[in-house]
């Protein structure tokens, strides 16, 4: 179904040299019907065609044909303004894989000196296994272990999550002790693929696939979608999806002041829009607490990988309506299934002084194990 992304070449210069950047079949598949417009978070903020998926594909076409020069400022701005949430893909009857086109666009847009320094720093950090090992010494994530058979499912630690939220992998292992935690794990490459280096993103995914035999279980929705694209959907499972398929039965409930906790969910865009996983996290939450469907739970939170760092004001503009909806829902916890979303929600909730706490799905379910009622 998917085709090989073209290898990034040297930066294109001048009109006419954009040819070959994109998977032409994907570009041609868009018939500009505009069904994607209402799904797009940036279009809903601006009402400007250029910041819609259809408009961006029109821009990609203009780059491809040389109608726009490679250094056109709108090309740079819009490729960066897009969150890459892929909500447009779910409503596209023509089946355009916009996420793939965006990766190809950023390969061009963020090549060489045009690469944002934050992106350079982050991708350089996470691509080095010894630095990831170092993180484990500072913050204690799930320790390498051999819980299950060697070819059984492996827990992928995730390069960002193991640094920022080591408790997540500990909670995951507590819930599923049979998961292997192989040592020497690298980065899956999603960060690279989403930030203009899809060749490295692909190579890292394949390398991780070789290091972790059997099924890869990840607590990050973004990693799950990226790995599934490169290793095949059969080899990759997001943690909630994994629990669901394994028929996980919680031992207890999560309570607050003696009553069931009110818990909402923030979908991970790539999990929802890339892999279509929406029910498992909801059902798992409902099994341990009072599940509250927050309006807009499936809309992007604005974290979008490096986006919150690269474009903080825009990221906040996307998040703000969500914070209002969360406040309205009067929650005890809001669950995320991706480390970037977790960071975004924690910061936003802190900024607005909200009562709700943001936790990862694994952490919430681990709380239920403690509260055996």
């Amino acid at each position: 179904m998917t085709t090989e992304p073209p290898q990034p070449g040297p930066p294109a210069e001048g009109p006419g040299t954009g040819r070959g950047l994109f998977d032409k079949q994907q570009l041609d598949r868009c018939i500009s019907c505009g069904f994607c417009l209402p799904a797009c978070p940036t279009y809903s903020l601006t009402g400007d065609e250029a910041s819609s998926p259809r408009g961006r594909i029109t821009l990609m076409r203009a780059l491809e044909t040389g109608e726009l020069p490679a250094d056109d400022p709108t090309l740079a701005e819009e490729s960066s303004y897009c969150l890459g949430c892929r909500a447009c893909e779910t409503v596209c009857p023509a089946g355009v894989e916009y996420g793939q086109l965006l990766e190809q666009w950023r390969d061009h847009q963020w090549s060489g000196p045009k690469r944002p320094w934050i992106v350079r720093l982050l991708t350089a950090l996470v691509a080095r296994p010894f630095l990831l090992r170092l993180q484990g010494l500072v913050r204690r994530h799930a320790r390498p272990s051999g819980g299950g058979p060697a070819d059984g499912p492996s827990l992928m630690l995730g390069c960002v999550e193991r640094g920022l939220y080591p408790a997540v992998s500990r909670a995951a292992l507590r819930l599923r002790p049979e998961l292997n935690v192989p040592p020497g794990q690298g980065c899956c490459g999603a960060l690279h693929a989403h930030n203009g280096d899809s060749a490295t993103g692909k190579a890292l995914a394949e390398e991780l696939g070789r290091r972790l035999p059997g099924t890869l279980v990840t607590t990050a929705g973004g990693c799950a979608a990226h790995l599934a694209h490169h290793l095949g959907p059969d080899r990759v499972r997001e943690f909630g999806d994994h629990l669901h398929r394994e028929g996980h039965v919680p031992a207890g409930r999560v309570t607050v002041d003696g009553r069931p906790a009110r818990v909402g969910l923030q979908d991970s865009c790539h999990l929802r829009n890339g892999l279509g996983v929406t029910r498992p996290p909801r059902e798992l939450i409902a099994a341990v607490a009072e599940y509250v469907e927050v309006p807009g739970a499936g809309d992007c939170c604005g974290a979008a990988g490096t986006y919150a760092m690269l474009r903080p004001a825009d990221s906040r503009a996307v998040l703000d309506p969500k914070l209002a909806a969360l406040a309205e829902a009067d929650l005890d916890f809001v669950v995320a299934v991706n480390p970037g979303c977790l960071r975004q929600l924690r910061q936003g909730l802190r900024r607005t002084g909200a009562r709700a706490r943001a936790v990862h799905l694994a952490e919430l379910l681990a709380l239920a194990e403690e509260d055996r009622t």
């Binding site: 598949r29 500009s32 019907c33 400007d48 250029a50 961006r56 056109d72 709108t74 596209c92 089946g95």
Partner: protein, 483 residues
């Protein structure tokens, strides 16, 4: 550019001839003048920003404007138009750009007037059964707002989640409920619109019965942005039907399904919806929506009705009987509302879903009297075969409104040429069967070359005189109706 688009584009100047230094200076000056009217942040002049506005949903038409402007009020729209008339600059009004007739492509450059900032639902009046909205509100937003008040906005274009109410009025959009409820025209009670000279007019009002004067509301409805820019719309609503029901009948061929349509109407049943899809469309829609449709059938008929539960049930069962008698392979009724909604939603995606079959998807819109539907379907098949083209057909069978859709490889210029020839023949066939060249998409630039075949020279001349009365400087959407 193909012969067809050259012909359609008429006097369009290629962008390459417009970008000399003097023109750039003029554009810069125009942008400054517009910025003074609407604010610098609501004006776009960078080539990339303009490129995004080079297309609407019509394939093969493509031309960037010189400036894009986003007015925030009717007064700003008026100021922009006054300026454009003074300077003789073309203006193309645009909602969501989801039209399929190149109605919002700036073939002559100039100003793209984008109305998405005018997006407020101003009023829902259950007592008067009406709604008043700004032009940039989407059809779905209007329908939802009406639904929340227990009311129905009946027009139901396939692009309802995207298209704007102003755009619906400008093109007189149709849709899936046309058989029982008609098209947008039947619901527009009043308009606020700005003439190219900058005068703000209010036509019609809030009344069902009002025959004072020429019906300018109807004249502007379907005028495709060539007479005035619609800024506010008052539409009639209906009480929300108590119940809805939907069913699917499968047939060996589209011709069989067409005969069943005639039989249904002959049996005295006028349901809200009677849509058909041929085998290629069924496959494409099924690939997108995964509803479990039978892809071994040659065609399906999607029927639906709304109203009192007993009436709905009675009508659906009558349609079931008639279809069975007309040789249906199988007839099933949707067991619940969710399933019915899913079927209708899938049908709305017929066009984009078809683009899964190939990269260039050209959809057309021809209408014939209902009793000649089977004949028209036969002619389309014959034309497609003769030109060696893949033409899938779906449409609003109950209205005799067909959407033959040709899927070709855009790099195969021979095939693109043959597609244009085939569509020319399809329109001629529709006219020969007492039909028309568009039932609901409008004329735009795409169908302007065929309009005289439908209207005749006398009406064409009258159209031009009307156009001149509204738009003496000829600035509003040139290259479209009235040109």
């Amino acid at each position: 550019m193909t012969a067809h688009t050259e012909r359609a584009a008429g006097r369009a100047t290629p962008p390459s001839e417009r970008t000399d230094t003097a023109a750039e200076g003029r554009t810069g000056e125009l942008a400054d003048a517009l910025a003074a009217l609407v604010g610098r942040e609501h004006v776009r002049v960078e080539p990339g920003q303009l490129a995004a506005y080079a297309r609407d949903a019509t394939p093969l038409f493509h031309a960037p404007p010189d400036v894009v402007v986003f007015p925030g009020s009717t007064a700003e729209v008026a100021a922009v138009l006054r300026l454009a008339t003074e300077r003789g600059v073309p203006v193309v009004p645009r909602g969501a750009g989801s039209n399929l007739c190149a109605g919002t492509v700036a073939l002559h450059g100039g100003v793209m007037l984008v109305l998405t900032r005018l997006n407020r639902v101003l009023e829902i009046s259950p007592g008067e059964l009406l709604a008043r909205v700004q032009t940039g509100v989407t059809t779905a937003q209007l329908a939802d707002a009406a639904g929340d008040a227990g009311l129905l906005y009946a027009p139901d274009p396939g692009s309802r989640t995207v298209s704007t109410v102003g755009g619906n009025v400008a093109t007189c959009a149709g849709g899936l409920r046309g058989l029982k409820y008609g098209v947008t025209r039947n619901y527009v009670l009043g308009l606020e619109a700005v003439l190219p000279t900058g005068e703000i007019v209010r036509t019609g009002g809030r009344l069902w019965k009002d025959v004072a004067g020429y019906d300018l509301t109807r004249l502007l409805t379907g005028s495709e942005g060539t007479l005035a820019v619609i800024t506010e719309v008052t539409v009639a609503l209906l009480p929300k039907p108590a119940d809805t029901g939907t069913g699917v009948a499968y047939f060996d061929s589209l011709a069989d399904a067409s005969r069943a349509v005639a039989a249904v109407i002959a049996a005295g049943v006028v349901p809200a919806t009677l849509e058909f899809l041929d085998r290629k469309c069924i496959e494409a829609v099924e690939a997108f929506a995964g509803l479990g449709l039978r892809t071994d059938a040659g065609a399906l008929l999607l029927f639906g009705d709304d109203g009192d539960p007993s009436v709905v049930a009675g009508n659906l069962s009558r349609i079931q009987e008639v279809c069975t008698a007309a040789g249906a392979l199988e007839v099933t009724l949707a067991e619940n509302v969710a399933r019915a909604d899913a079927l209708l939603a899938a049908r709305r995606c017929g066009l984009p879903a078809l683009s899964r079959l190939g990269s260039l998807t050209i959809l057309e819109d021809a209408t014939v009297p209902r009793h000649r539907l089977a004949e028209m379907v036969g002619r389309i098949d014959e034309i497609a075969e003769r030109h060696g083209l893949l033409i899938a057909t779906f449409g609003h069978a109950g209205d005799g409104n067909l959407h033959p859709t040709c899927v070709v490889d855009p790099d195969d210029t021979g095939a693109v040429e043959r597609a244009h020839q085939a569509f020319g023949e399809i329109f001629a066939a529709a006219l020969a069967l007492d039909g028309t060249i568009t039932g609901e998409h409008g004329v735009g630039a795409a169908k302007l070359p065929y309009l005289a075949d439908r209207l005749g020279d006398d009406q064409m001349a009258l159209l031009r005189r009307i156009k001149h009365a509204f738009d003496p400087a000829g600035i509003l959407n040139p290259g479209k109706l009235g040109s």
